[in-house]
Amino acid sequence: MTLLKVEQLHTHIHTNKGRVSPVRGVSFSIEKGEVTGVVGESGSGKSVMSQSLIRLLDREGNIEYNGQIHFDNKDVLALSEAELRKLRGNDISIIFQDALSSLNPLYTVGNQIVEAIRTHQSLSKKTARKQAIEFLRLTGIPSPETRFNSYPHELSGGMQQRVMIAMALVSKPKLLIADEPTTALDVTIQAQILDLIIQLNTEFEMSILFITHDLGVVREICSSVKVMYLGQIVEEGPTETIFNQPLHPYTKLLLASMPKLNSDRTEPLPAITGTVPSLSNIPKGCSFSTRCPYATDLCREQEPPMFSNDGQRVQCWLYDEEKGGWLD
């Protein structure tokens, strides 16, 4: 069952220097219970895209959306502010990278979870408190009764992220958007949080949209992956296919440039030349053409269409539809 369907989503931000578009025509869908990864470097538009899904940016300034977002038979772009408030936190929850700045320093974590519960359900304070403790326990926080009364600064980074997850779960959302939730954590703590997220996905059949720059994390927990570059999805497909048989040069180079525990230390690392172009200066044709080692005149002139092959989709002129692989 399709839970979320996004079609040709554009997010435009009007600034006093003109219009920039961090999301430029993104289409995808998420099935119930699916864990999908979105990878991209800084400036690829992955965070703006995920926040557009629940229109979190609306209050940030002059934002304009084009395209379609359908969630559970609701047209998200047509919802009123009141309806949006019901959607956010209830059906779709979001957790961010920096848990400490997402928590209110003046209230105990228990208080904040109770507030989240009582915003969405009419429960007495006492019942809500009980529930909050249960959610803290569920996310693996030791002695949750004591921790209920802790202030955010008294907890470690990993514990803070667990509190954020507990808060995101109170309404048993159908979709959890996790925006770089483990980036600020140490590897051993990251492993614990990833295990928790997977456990919650199986237990609640909750779909997860996992935003990250870390390809290793994607392989660990996502069944499918989308690769973003400059506001577009340039390649997507099942995780194993993308890792074993990437079709887009950007995906290939991104995978290759990651140092691995078994890579040859005497060889230089394959690197992508240059940097991600600025949004106010998007290249003509394929947006990756300025850094692509295989770019041709066609790439620099015309934007490539999205080609599909057996569940894998790629936006690249080098893809040969008949061969089902790269042109020679």
């Binding site: 590897v187 051993t188 492993a191 720059h213 890579s263 992508i272």
Partner: protein, 324 residues
């Protein structure tokens, strides 16, 4: 592998504690200490890259700052060219700073926004007594090229550069005085993967061409593995294991090293060794072996007695009671 095992820098039993109490506790004699680095010894050989890995709170950065005497160590010695840096006066140390350069993590806050790249690069030369402007400029332009920037960048300001380019400027600034040793504190962790590999390649090439000795500090294990000849693993301010890179990855002996390596997500599927709990507070480090609270193999002995760092194979030192 490097042929000559001439130690250029020797760190002996280095410790650093910070006071964590207010005036009231001090007056009542209940001063608390944060033990950031505890009794760490290792040496850097000429021309090698020594990697230090550890999670946040393991004392990596404090160790770097203590080696450079940016904070005074509580005890221990740092020997460089037969001198103990910890015993030097400030002006004696200042003369040696040219030889020991530091490259920082954050390329945004470590460059003066009001100076041009040329001024930033030439300042260390001026401080260290290169009087002729023409020579300074020549040197600056040569380094710009070596780190993969262009001549025209000489007149630009830091804000005109991307994170990766700024890190190149930081590297050029450190290397312009021809240091003997470069200490790099998380030099690529603020960068995207595609940029990270560009910088790692530059560092590796420069290290080789200049026969530079490097102390490379990072939490990213794959990165440290790629660049280092030898590696030390820190946990809660103590050295857990040390070996040359290939031996360490072929067979990590300390349970912490094993768990740490198994949590690395480098895109390959593998069995993870889960670690319970979190790194304990350095305000109250565990008794005995500092890792015993999270170690899956810990026994009573580990709680009571601190294991010594001892050589168990040629070049491989481990601090664990149970490694044979």
């Amino acid at each position: 592998m490097k042929e000559d095992h001439q130690p250029i820098l020797e760190i002996r039993n280095l410790s650093k504690s910070f006071t964590a109490s207010g005036t009231l506790e001090k007056l009542s004699g209940k001063t608390k200490y944060v033990r950031a680095v505890n009794n760490v010894s290792f040496q850097l050989n000429k021309g090698e890259v020594y990697g230090l890995v550890g999670e946040s709170g393991s004392g990596k950065s404090t160790l770097a700052r203590t080696i450079l005497q940016l904070t005074k160590p509580s005890s221990g010695e740092v020997l460089y060219k037969n001198q103990d840096l910890t015993a030097l006066k400030i002006n004696e140390m200042r003369k040696l700073r040219k030889d020991l350069q530091l490259i920082f993590q954050d390329p945004f806050s470590s460059l003066n926004p009001r100076k041009t790249v040329g001024q930033i690069l030439e300042e260390p030369l001026r401080i260290h007594g290169v009087k002729k402007a023409a020579i300074r400029q020549e040197k600056a332009l040569a380094l710009l090229e070596q780190v993969g920037l262009q001549t025209e960048h000489y007149f630009r300001y830091p804000h005109e550069f991307s994170g990766g380019q700024r890190q190149r400027i930081g590297i050029a600034r450190a290397l312009i005085v021809d240091p003997e040793i470069a200490i790099l504190d998380e030099p690529v962790s603020a960068l995207d993967v595609s940029i990270q590999s560009q910088i790692l390649n530059i560092l590796k090439a420069l290290q080789k061409n200049l026969n530079l000795t490097m102390l490379f500090i990072a939490h990213d294990i794959s990165v440290v593995r790629y660049i280092s000849d030898r590696i030390g693993v820190l946990y809660l301010g103590e050295m857990m294991e040390e070996a040359d890179t290939d031996s360490l990855f072929a067979e990590p002996l300390h349970p912490y090293t094993q768990a740490l390596f198994s949590s690395v997500l480098d895109g390959s599927k593998k069995e993870r060794i889960p670690l319970k709990g979190e790194i304990p507070s350095p305000l109250a480090p565990p008794s005995g072996c500092v890792f015993h609270t999270r170690c899956p193999f810990a026994t009573e002995l580990c709680k009571e007695q601190k294991p010594k760092l001892r050589e168990v194979r040629a070049g491989q030192r481990v601090a664990c009671h149970f490694v044979k």
